[in-house]
Amino acid sequence: MVKPLPLVVLAFASVLPLAGLARADEVPLHATIDRMIAEANLGIVAPIASDGEFLRRLYLDLTGSIPPSEVTRQFLDDATADKREQTINRLLESPRFSRHMASAIDVMLMERRAEKHVKHVDWQKYLYDSVSQNKPWDELCREILAADGTDEKNRAAAAFYFARDTEVNGITRDVGRIFFGMDLQCAQCHDHPLISSYYQSDYYGIYAFLNRGVLFTDKDKKVFYAEKAEGDVSFTSVFTSESDKTFPRLPTSFEIDEPFFPKGEEYDVAPADKVRPVPKFSRREQLAALATNGTNTQFNKNIANRLWAHMMGRGLVEPVDLHHADNPPSHPELLELLGDQFVAMKYDMKAFLRELALSATYQRSLDAPDSVAEQAKTIEPQIASLRSRAEELAIQVTEAEKAIRATEEEFNTARAAVNPIYDELTTANTAIGTTRKAADAGAKALADAQALQASTQSAFNTIAPLAATTKEAADKLKEAELVDIATKLQARADKLAGELAAATKAVADKTPPAQKSADALSAAKQAAEAIKLRFDAARAKVREVEPRLATARQNERSAARAKQLADDELQAAEAILAVAHAEQVAADKATVTQLYEVMRDQWGKRFSANRLEHLSPEQMAWSVMEATGVLENQRAAGEAEANKTLPLEPDKPADPARLAERNKLMEAYVYEKVKGNIATFVKLFGHGDGQPQSDFFATVDQALFFANGSVVQSWLNPSGNNLTARLNKLAEPPAIAEEMYISLLSRRPTEEEITSVAAYLQSRPEDKLNTIKEMTWALLTSAEFRFSY
């Protein structure tokens, strides 16, 4: 791969009060992250965020809420060197972390779709329990991707498919987007018109894992996502009218090999009325297994990138569902490393998030250094070489594209040879089905005849000796009655002899056709076997080219990526130079700030400074309730409840398991009490069901809800130990200002802000409570509250 030019490698030494848990001889992941981000820096790096800024950010990312005021106050006053690391560790073990991550995963996977066949609370509990147990990501995905609803314990995992009506195009798109970071929607009807590396065959590769799924309702009206053993996938481009077939294939991987089952032998449980079919080979299980076995790098990079975006506010690839060559990661090698490391960490989300939180990259401030003149001096001499490098790389991209073409042609030829043989195999398998019917019928006729022959023989064997003996007796004794019986027995024996002869003939007649049809079945199977050998040979040829094609494609991707990165770097460098130049010639303030903003945007993309991100609807709900003291009051009630159900045992040594259980109980108590409020915020601040949920939007009903709605107004009334009650008890304006700013914005007020608060209080001293409520409202509705920074 082509390595981007290390343009400006400034000595990057920021001393952080952090230490990893890694062995001494091993560089912890967070340090590697910082090194790789630093190597790509363009001279300017924001300082490490202040304690208040860090704490607010960390609480929002790990617990989904701003910190409680008491926690903030203690943290700000705490002089312990490793307090950041301690807080990270503590939060990761808190029940609020489980709740928040479960909610984030829920929104990511379901995008607020309505429940179907699985209750939403069951699905949420499934996710909450999974995060609580720190279930690895691969295991969670295996359960979700393989789900058919039959596993009683994990039936909720099927909600991903159920909520999408198990409609194959819908789930194909979302499996691609959510688990592989590739939105292949536009490749459903043709190769993607805008993204050169998204092929129609990519879309149908995933589709082929899923198109055999059927919704099955049992006699108790319970619904399952069953699977059939048949259903091949072919597709036609609406642009070129070219058609092709595909076997199941994961993105960036190759078609899978499947066992061949002669028609009639492909099911463990054959489909029938009110019978849920169970195929011998489940493609859906293959999807779950192959995606999560650690070897699919796209699956690994997708989740590493999404967890990165969860913490950093922006993916290394952004948007997170558009991984492709023309939208390369801002730091490609870092993303590769993160994907691999996440696998090495056994897909442990908690451990991975911990490393991200420990990194200096995560802890950068929103603010950047004041002057860029120094940095510009370093950059200036390199700008020419950077330009020529971008041009040089453009040529390399063209060459890589050329190189890929020959291999692609070879691959296409080999691949094209497979389809007709597969058609033959399908025809042969249909013939097996037909001959199997004849063979089954022939065998049954023969078996019936044989059974009749046997029963006739048995009857004859019983009667014939009896007739002979009776005749003997009759001849000897000459009794009329006896003679009569002997005659009748003989007649019966004669009739049976005739029947036996007929039955024997029938057996003889039916044997050759039975044999013939059995032979025909064997022949059909043999014919299929022979074709299968040719099919395997053709597939082997394809597989022989595959690694070479993979390499060629990798080279092409690398070249395109390097080119894109060089362009980005050039852009970023030029942005810095533009600012430096404007400062130098003392351009007007507006121009300088404009250019400065362009440059800041570049830093955010390169993770040199923190970015401003909006709170999710859930974060907004929890934060408003935390700030106003709704949660404080609920926590007190929750603790009282826990004291009844699981009291502390002051006489015994502390039992960590008991404490953890108490914490879970208390958190669950609060959650149950406030989840209605969260739903209100989701309705206001969330996108529609089934839509991507990440974009920021502001609608008037949100502002009106805050301005005039009864919910927020009631939270601003003093009650228990809530915020306005606490503030109202304070006498001195600086104390009021401090409590207000710590509670709402997780930081102490500046002198200027204290003065403003004092002036506000002073304007209507007789109306103290209202002035407090008004200022609280104003901070609650401020941009600083609405965003994470």
Binding site: P319, L684, D701, G709, Y789
Partner: protein, 429 residues
Amino acid sequence: MKCSYACGTDEHVIARRQFLGGVAAGAGAVVGGLGVLAAPASATQLVKDQKRVLVVNMAGGLSQLESWDPKPGTDTGGPFRAIPTAVPGIHICELLPETAKQMKHLSLVRSINTKENDHGKGGYAMFTGRRQTPAADYPRLGAVAAKALSPATSSLPGHIVITPGGSGGRGSDSAYLGPKYSSISLGDGKPPQNTERPASISEQSELARQAFRRQVNDRFAMRRRTAMTDAYTANYEQALELMKRREIFDITKEPQQDHDRYGSHDFGRHCLLARRLLDSGVTFVQVTHSNYDTHNENFNFHIEQVGEFDSPFATLVADLADRGMLESTLIVVLSEFGRTPNINQNYGRDHWGTAWSICLGGAKIQPGAVIGKTNDNGTAVADREVDHGHLFHTYMQAVGVDSSGTFDVDGREMPIADPAASPISELLA
């Protein structure tokens, strides 16, 4: 360095494209930029030129035979006569005498075949111009109109749905266009939720808290100001603006004689409210008249329902014409489907997407036209068959939107209307 001015970054470029608001304007990481609020003086001019849409949703499925496509004297025709209208040659059902007088402003499409007999799916097709599939959701007509036509500077919601009941709130009907274009419903014609300042907050308190909010925001903007922070802070100003203009939702401000003309029943009041909203510059207003799902006693129900519809609707059409607003306002009277020519044993008519009609007019719709026809007893389309896709294209073209264009949603090109369909060009002036 402190920042006091914002532009030039990706975020801002995207936001600026959004402020433009029009067709093919970009949506990106930020949705809901507002820009500068309109000064009331310039708003007047905007209102006059701005294209608007009024939809009357005849919920449940209006019978085409008892409205726009009567077949008197046939086995399917039912008991009602057809009457002449202001346009020579066009006859409609005798239940619509007032509307008949306004026919010079209106047109009919009598050859709709949506092949859809399900309420939900039929409504979806008519409001999105596409068939419903689980794989993708499409924005409703109101959301598309709001996105394409609403002035960037408007402080009013662009997509309003007046419903007979309900408590109001934001709908989930804008799909990928985002919540900014979702419907705000006015339950029973009541103003949007939370538009009135609670009595517990004095005017003095309101002024003081808003001033403090602005001061706090200004301080933060010195540290960081982006399109998102702008959109968020401006949102509170827009809310104040809307509160100030709350009386546009209040039809008691309309003269008594207009109340008399429109009638005191729900539909009459809602039509008057629709007029008031369109007058005030709201882009899309939908009035619902319910319920036409007449599986039983179709004829008695239609006497009652269409009778209630006729006069307020005709009054509204006449008023829009008088005020010079018809050139800019598209009117559509639609349903999810029509009703069967066959009369069932309960004297009812059932669901029928096969051959039915809508009425439309205003904007660039050719007045006094009839598009297509059904056969003699209305059991099939006989000429110029169209479906929901053609209609949706036609609505867009009628308000000056290139229906073959696309919306740029986060870098993804989304066709405004189904690319497989086309407008009914002969209906467009």
